[in-house]
């Protein structure tokens, strides 16, 4: 029996599901070239290049960037650029911290017994089984109450008042990332052959050298995939960011959400197209890296 043989029904169903996954994305990308500013229906591509933007009612007749008018428009939008900067700052900072402390916790849970272990395990399990909004409004309540109390106690006024901002978002992102980093690294530690470490110790290496030269290189793939998962969770996060951001810490998802509740020009689509392209490149890079990794091992 050929294990790779699939019935026509399975193939047809798979095609339908792929179509379902991609139809919205294709429409999204197509509309980023829409000549219509109102963006309700697709009115064709912007036909020509010109010195200045020429409009006919809500239709763009020609633009310095031609069909890519909305992408040029996007590049000039400072709000988007600030939001992109914030998104990346938050994702990089939170991922770095969450990866370090999550890996430490994974080592602790996998290798040691300690009194607070049940607490550590439970607290890492909860964020996975409760909806994000529950955590989000809890954190919002904590920050607003603590900040109100501190502002009052030290009579802080004006700019020195404590408010929600980048820091509160970063701290909260770390909280929902750590459980996932720990899970991934723990999975890697489970399949770990301890005899390598014992060999290193027998050869006279101390704990730190053993960790640096033996343990860490071996769990590195787990740590990296944990970090990558954390990074994508942060980029994608809406709910926690929504409740913990403040003036000046708008991220891209929050910015897009704000636009969706007002007027939507094809600029939003251009932003989405850029985002999809970045994802495409990132996933491709990852595939190349993984393939290289697996061919090296075999």
């Amino acid at each position: 029996m050929n294990p790779h043989r699939r019935s026509p029904f399975v193939i047809a169903a798979a095609l339908v599901v792929y179509f379902f996954l991609y139809a919205p994305i294709i429409a999204l990308v197509l509309y980023s070239f829409n000549a219509s500013r109102a963006n309700v229906t697709f009115e064709g591509f912007i036909p020509s290049f010109s010195e200045r933007v020429v409009m006919d009612g809500s239709l763009v007749k020609s633009s310095p960037c031609g069909p890519f008018h909305w992408f040029c428009d996007l590049a000039k939008n400072n709000d988007v650029i600030d939001a992109a900067k914030n998104t990346l700052t938050i994702a990089f900072t939170a991922t770095a911290i969450a990866t370090v402390i999550g890996t430490m916790a994974a080592m602790a849970l996998q290798r040691f017994d300690f009194n607070l272990k049940p607490f550590a395990q439970l607290s890492l399990y909860i964020p996975i089984v409760i909806p994000e909004i529950v955590m989000g409004i809890g954190i919002l309540t904590l920050f607003s109450q603590v900040f109100a109390w501190l502002n009052n106690a030290f009579s802080l006024v004006g700019d020195s008042r404590l408010t929600m901002g980048l820091n509160t978002v970063i701290v909260s992102h770390i909280a929902f990332m750590v459980p996932f980093v720990t899970l991934v690294v723990q999975a890697r530690l489970q399949g770990f052959d301890k005899s390598y470490e014992e060999a290193a110790m027998d050869l006279g290496a101390n704990e730190w050298t053993t960790f640096r030269r033996v343990t860490f290189p071996m769990i590195l793939p787990g740590v990296l995939s944990g970090a990558l998962l954390a990074f994508t969770l942060s980029l994608d996060d809406f709910v926690i960011t929504f409740f913990t951001n403040g003036p000046g810490s708008t991220t891209l998802p929050i910015y897009v959400y704000g636009l969706l509740r007002r007027i939507i020009t094809p600029q939003v689509n251009a932003l989405s197209t850029v985002w999809i392209l970045v994802v495409l490149i990132a996933v491709l890079l990852l595939q190349v890296l993984q393939n290289r990794d697996s061919t090296q091992h075999s």
Binding site: F114, I128, T232
Partner: protein, 307 residues
């Protein structure tokens, strides 16, 4: 002192786990306790919290009302109960639909030749990594009155010479269901794929040798062994659907109010954090109860990590 630490395994473990434990204490445990404390408080006229002990918010959620039509002191108002019920049944329907769509695709990928598998998986990752909010917006373009679906239906109708009225799809419960299914589909495909891929090919050969046909092999071998993936996927889909408010906000307009929308509005528009906190705790308890009974029946799939 360093030497004593080196010998004390328990202290080493605690030390390694301390940053994480502090973080989870400060940003998970304390916020949850605070939510519980606020939920039994009262709202002051300017929207701040007066700490007290009253279960009024919970009674209100369960249908107790003091603003009755016919001068009664109290009556049953089904508003919030129906919101909770709507969220629960939407989460249930979404999960079932997602399983039905995800399973054939996961099966298709798992049975593909190893070289092609990566490509097929890659095609699942792109929509997954495209931002959540952007994916909801994409359905706005499709479902609108003048949107792509109505446009295509119009062409078909024109081609077949039938008269066609654009269907109103956006801002309906159906739109919210489709949006939810679309958002969470990849979270089901990946764990099911992982558990299907782990199945040893020799099991199929054994089943064939013992005279089982394709349908029987699927029912007796493939399906039981892929249950851990379905369980993990269900947890990854059901729980977020219960709490999400963007999909219903954007695709449901003001028509479809879920418990997530209720909570969000209490904190932003209505400014009653005490009622919002109570709703949030009820939501948490509801998901915990469902997850508890579900995982007790089927176990907790370790495939949860792959997504």
């Amino acid at each position: 002192m360093l030497k004593r630490l080196r010998e004390n395994k328990s202290a080493q473990g605690t030390l390694l786990a301390i940053p994480t434990m502090l973080w989870m204490l400060g940003l998970l445990i304390i916020p949850l306790i605070l939510t519980a404390v606020v939920s039994v408080g009262r709202r002051s006229p300017d929207g701040t919290v007066i700490y007290s002990f009253s279960l009024e918010n919970y009674f209100r959620l369960l249908g107790y009302s003091t603003s009755c039509a016919n001068r009664q002191a109290a009556c049953f108002d089904p508003l919030y109960v129906s919101i909770l019920w709507r969220s629960l049944s939407l989460a249930f329907n979404t999960t079932v639909l997602v399983i039905l769509l995800a399973y054939p695709l996961a099966y298709f990928i798992a049975r593909a030749k190893p070289k092609q598998r990566n490509t097929y998986l890659f095609l699942v990752l792109i929509p997954l990594w495209t931002n959540f909010v952007i994916r909801v917006y994409a359905w706005m373009i499709l479902l609108r009155q003048e949107g792509v679906i109505n446009l295509v239906l119009g062409w078909i109708a024109h081609f077949l010479h039938i008269s066609f009225q654009p269907i109103e799809m956006l801002y309906t419960p159906g739109a919210v269901l489709v949006g939810m299914v679309y958002e969470f589909l990849p979270f089901m495909i990946l764990p099911i794929y992982t558990s299907l891929e782990k199945i040893d090919v020799s099991l199929y050969e054994a089943a064939a040798d013992l005279g089982a046909n394709a349908a029987k092999t699927f029912r007796r071998v493939t399906l039981p062994l892929s249950i851990p993936g379905v369980v993990a996927g269900t947890i990854l889909v059901f729980i977020p659907v219960m709490g999400t408010f963007i999909v219903s906000d954007i695709l449901g307009g003001r028509q479809v109010i879920l418990v997530g929308n209720l909570i969000q509005r209490q904190f932003l528009d209505a400014r009653d954090p005490t009622f919002g906190s109570a709703a949030s705790l009820i939501l948490m308890v509801m998901t915990l109860i469902v997850t508890y009974f579900y995982t007790r029946k089927f176990g907790f799939g370790e495939e949860i990590v792959v997504a």
